[in-house]
Symmetry: C2
Subunit: 704 residues, 2 copies
């Protein structure tokens, strides 16, 4: 899991400040076609099979999977990462519990690694170059797992090499960036060794969060093209999206030494943290501190770009009736270090789910109506690379045939509640699944009942319901939803927010994210892992096996209505001042709602009937393809891959139409008749046309 977009913003914001070396307290947010004879074309979801799958999903097997997956560090393209690809292949080719077919295609992608010979270094040096203090170059070996040769030292992937030195940089240029995670943001303020791992789930003082600092996603050298050996590649020296200056992450233990010795203006209150001193902005060290005032911070970054082979692993269960309809289920395989939580908690669930389904398949008990494709993506931590290259290579095939994409990356952040993100059509199927699975440790309460206690919203259609989050670009669902327009979701168990304000689990992307950490602190007993396996597994089976696709397109109407109301509230006056009417958008939303409701009624009517399989297929195609109608590859040419007019990145915090809102915020301070105001009108038209076009696809198919 990684949060590309937010990181981009961080680096941008840092440069804006114009400081020499920024010692911020920002956290880096995480960031054979024919059916077998005898197959019924009316084959529908079998509730007994579903129940049996739910029962067979075994917490102890997930635990065993996790132990093996996280036994060694498995950085993207490393020998251990490739060994795990082989392990997955072997499981998926198992004659007793494997799938119909599996393979491990490879892309040649541009990754970034620190140098073994010249470790990255952060030091305070005196005026003659004497080293007065050095930051740690690796994390403290607390459990015997942090010291091995395969533990990659902390670094900022894709940050360029260089050796800036300054505490008092030129006002107009930032020489380098240091990043650390403040105990206020990750440890609820706690920072001592006794209060942190291995004594609690909290981040130890030496822990350093690794991450990719590339602004976009996908292989940096082959945008829109699969990174096959023969593909055209950009020149790495001029590729856009890499940080412009050397950047290095450090632990809060070291950050404290640097930050608490700064002089200068007091930083804003929101920038203060829990290092036990007042945070100041510099420039320079305070005269009464640990370092002479003429000391400087020297940062040596020796990262190198390397073309590496990275594998995806793909496995398929062929559909019995509609093999050309795919339900995709994926997670990445690569980690920064051992990655027990990220991503192996998800991979452990993936393997257990494929084992249970594979066993039913090999026994001849079951074959899904539609095809199921499992995927283990490579090089996600560097920027969703494996999944993005896959979507680039099979763009048409996937776009024509994919029912939905289910992503389970980190399956368990914490064990309080389910958390799901997705586009509106998947809400109902997640609810259906969650209602029928018991919440772990809460006798008699369903996952749904528990979920609604933690995340909820008031729906005009349904009253109080769990709230589904929206999809950013934090994991491999990004290319599926934003580039291909495939209805997507991400499912996990997560925190009780009343008990911690940690922005993510504390050992995220550090060498302390180990099996022991999960086993002892995150999910002892693995019942939350099992709950996620059951929820995602039930969603998968409902999508692959139901005669009528359980995608409720009416739920998009509610989202559109909410977006519209937000636009009217926040932008209405401004637009009116510029003689821009939201009237056509109101009409388009109404048309969508009307068409979606009528389609829902036709589905219900047909369900009561004995429909012929072609009639069902035609309706299902309308449901499946709705999400595609929101794509417009010409809407946001500057936003690589983002083509979905409803879910492109928004610069503001209000949940509304992104193109319109972004254009308004750019136009706001320009004059009437500016290009920026023309772009507002263009974005409004793009949106209206997309909604009207979507409504047209929902109407009876032979309406003019």
């Amino acid at each position: 899991m990684q949060w590309v977009k937010v990181l981009g913003g961080l680096v941008g914001a840092s440069a804006l400040l114009g400081l020499g070396i920024i010692l911020g307290h920002f956290a880096i947010p995480k960031g054979a076609d024919a059916p077998a004879p005898g197959v019924s074309v009316s084959q529908d979801l079998d509730l007994e099979i579903l129940e049996s799958v739910m029962k067979q999903l075994d917490a102890s097997k997930i635990r065993e999977n996790l132990r093996e997956l996280s036994r060694e560090p498995h950085l993207a393209s490393s020998p251990r990462d490739e060994a795990l690809a082989q392990l997955l292949l072997q499981r998926w080719r198992d004659p007793e519990s494997g799938l119909d077919a599996a393979e491990a295609p490879t892309y040649e992608v541009l990754l970034s690694f620190p140098s073994r010979e010249q470790p990255n270094r952060v030091a305070v040096v005196g005026p003659t170059g004497t080293v007065l203090f050095s930051c740690r170059q690796s994390e403290q070996n607390l459990t015997g797992e942090q010291g091995g040769p395969d533990v990659v030292p902390p670094y900022a992937a894709y940050a360029p090499p260089g050796t800036p030195q300054a505490v008092n940089a030129a006002k107009h240029g930032v020489a380098g960036v240091l990043v650390y995670t403040d105990p206020a943001d990750i440890n609820d303020g706690h920072s001592s060794a006794s209060q942190t791992f291995p004594n609690s789930w909290r981040l130890p003082p030496s822990g350093v969060e690794r991450g990719s600092y590339y602004e976009y996603f996908g292989d940096p050298l082959t945008p829109y093209l699969p990174a096959n050996p023969s593909s055209f590649r950009l020149n790495p020296d001029t590729v856009p999206g890499f940080p412009p200056i050397p950047t290095q992450p450090i632990g809060f233990e070291d950050a404290k030494i640097l930050l608490c010795n700064l002089q200068g203006t007091l930083a804003p209150a929101a920038w203060q943290g829990a290092l036990g001193c007042d945070y100041k902005l510099g420039p320079g060290f305070r005269p009464d501190g640990d370092f002479p005032a003429d000391s400087q911070v020297n940062v040596s970054v020796h990262n190198r770009l390397e073309l590496r082979n990275s594998s995806n692993v793909l496995g398929i269960i062929r559909g019995a009736v509609e093999p050309d309809r795919y339900v995709l289920y994926g997670n990445h395989r690569d980690s920064w270090v051992h990655g027990a939580v990220d991503p192996s908690s998800g991979t452990a669930v993936l393997l257990e789910l494929s084992r249970v389904l594979g066993t039913l398949l090999k026994k001849g008990t079951w074959r899904p109506r539609r095809s199921i494709v499992f995927a283990s993506w490579g090089a996600e931590e560097f920027g969703l690379i494996g999944s993005t290259e896959f979507t680039e290579e099979f763009f048409s095939k996937l776009q024509e045939r994919t029912v939905a994409y289910i992503n389970v990356d980190i399956s368990v952040f914490a064990n309080a509640t389910l958390r799901a993100q997705g586009t509106p059509p998947v809400q109902s199927v997640i609810f259906s699944a969650a209602k029928q699975i018991p919440a772990p440790g809460l006798d008699g309460l369903s996952i749904y009942d528990n979920w609604i206690r933690y995340f909820n919203r008031s729906s005009t259609a349904y009253g109080l319901v769990p709230s589904l989050g929206s999809l950013g670009a934090g994991s491999d669902y990004a290319p599926f939803i934003h580039f291909l327009g495939i209805s997507s979701m991400d499912i996990a168990y997560t925190y009780d927010r009343s008990k911690t304000s940690a922005r993510i689990y504390p050992t995220y992307h550090t060498a302390f994210d180990t099996f022991g950490y999960v086993d002892k602190f995150v999910d002892p007993g693995f019942s939350s892992h099992q709950a996620v396996a059951r929820t995602a597994g039930s969603v998968l089976l409902r999508l692959s096996d139901s005669l009528f696709l359980p995608l409720n397109v009416s739920d998009y109407g509610e989202t559109l209505r909410n977006f519209l109301q937000a636009a009217q509230r926040d932008l209405g006056v401004l637009l009116e001042q510029h003689s821009i009417s939201l009237g056509p958008l109101v009409t388009a939303v109404e048309k969508f709602e009307g068409a979606a409701a009528a389609l829902g009624q036709r589905v219900s009517a047909l369900q009561k009937d004995t429909p012929d399989p072609l009639q069902v297929r035609m309706l299902n195609d309308q449901l499946m393809l709705l999400e595609r109608t929101f794509l417009n590859p010409r809407a946001f040419p500057e936003e690589r891959y983002y083509s979905h007019v409803l879910w492109a990145p928004r610069t503001g915090s209000v949940a509304t139409f992104p193109g319109l809102a972004n254009a308004c915020s750019r136009a706001m301070n320009t004059s009437l008749g500016s290009a920026a105001w023309a772009e507002v009108q263009r974005q409004l038209s793009i949106l209206v046309v997309a909604l009207e076009g979507a409504a047209a696809t929902l109407r009876p198919v032979a309406d003019l």
Copy 2:
């Protein structure tokens, strides 16, 4: 019918010459969802119905249609154009012979008209402004039809207003452009009144070809957006693609006066024509000619841009089994003047075909398996506007569901032979139709047998076959193939090229393109019209009614192989010199051929069987959607709408991959490592990915 691209090239080339006023001899080249109870899901093409339709298509009814359609001028958006829209609606709503539903949606589009108050004028003036000679402002009223108030005077649509005056313009600036059609190009050299219409089919001396001089297609103010009243519009003053300078077409009678009086260097041999003098380049008039040497040519253009409502008329016959699969059949309705040939010869056929099918429908004798949509497009002559706006408005719905688009614009250019253009998947269905229809006037010979005598090629798969032309952007198929990736075709009857070298029928876009012209010279008896109605009708029925779609995807393999061989022959050495290998392209073509052949075998196998309808639907989807896989909206960002990587405009004359060939011709004289050479590599990769992606969609659907 109009040839946007060629015109653009003409204007561009003219500007390049740097002459003051160009008196060229260039020709402007011409360019309710549920099935009814009792419907069988295995419903297939009924050969008796087909035969009955062939018999009922009535030449005399086509003649009557044409008489009515061409009775008055019906320029786009004129009252008569709108009246014809109502006539079509009425026919398609006829209770005895109409369709299931019809409507006439309207777009608000930017057209260009000459001023009634200030007619455009071309004159030779003396140094004091005395008018020494004026070109005609309208054509001679030879048949009583050229004089009415609705005959729009000759003009160059979208040419800007202005009053340039020069014969001796600054070397670096062209002040204005005059265009005429030389008798050498249009009349096989003949130019006297006695040799031309109404005494023959040839162009009279006063005839002037109108046309649109807009570089792109679609409504100029709303690229990529439907021209609905609320849509965002570009500023007409800065819209790209209009001619930069005043432009006016004149007849060859007037061109002779201007051109034969020029002095200066003799124009190149290829520029000489049949006006009876040596063509010189100027500048200035010759001293021994009709005008004093200090005379100048004054061109006054008063064209005005106007937002006008233009209607499409759409009619549907709902499919009995697969109503969500559309076979589209269309032609434009608007003409420059009476437009008997262009476009009414096509509309007359369209109405006869819809009458025959509508009658079968209303009698309850027949309903197609798939839906048939008939379209009468508005404002084609101004740049394919009605059809383009339609594709913009219903992009997703059409792209998901359209089997093919059949265009019959001018149905009869001349009565010698069938001529068809299209993408490879439609070749076989046109052949099948043409083989079973008798060629008019050639006892015992089929249309196919006759066709192969005029246009043929040697196919590796089939031996000698009629050659299918490729689709440019000359008529309304352009947005369907280039923007939406829908397999498209254009069908007509045309010339015996051994009998005329006229680049198009001589009265093209003049006021002499009248019913009498068709009835007397183009197709007396209307048997060629009937032949086109039968051919296009048979193709339509085969596409709408066949259980297995008659789209032969293997035929794309032959095209790809030919393109590849041309690339190897023409570009291979150059690419090798720049270390660019065509190897990956060779592999991709081979993969395509292999996958297409294997799919063909699976279709054949299934045809022998009793396939279930879902199996057929899945195969048909593979066939239908193949063309879509060649679209890449990011391949040619500078070419508006063109997204098809195989049929985008080519700058060279060799039939090969356009993106690769164009990039090579731009890179040829640049240095190694230039951006232009990088673009060659990018284009090669785009092509390889498209072909590999296409092959992937043809493989068995559950292959990984």
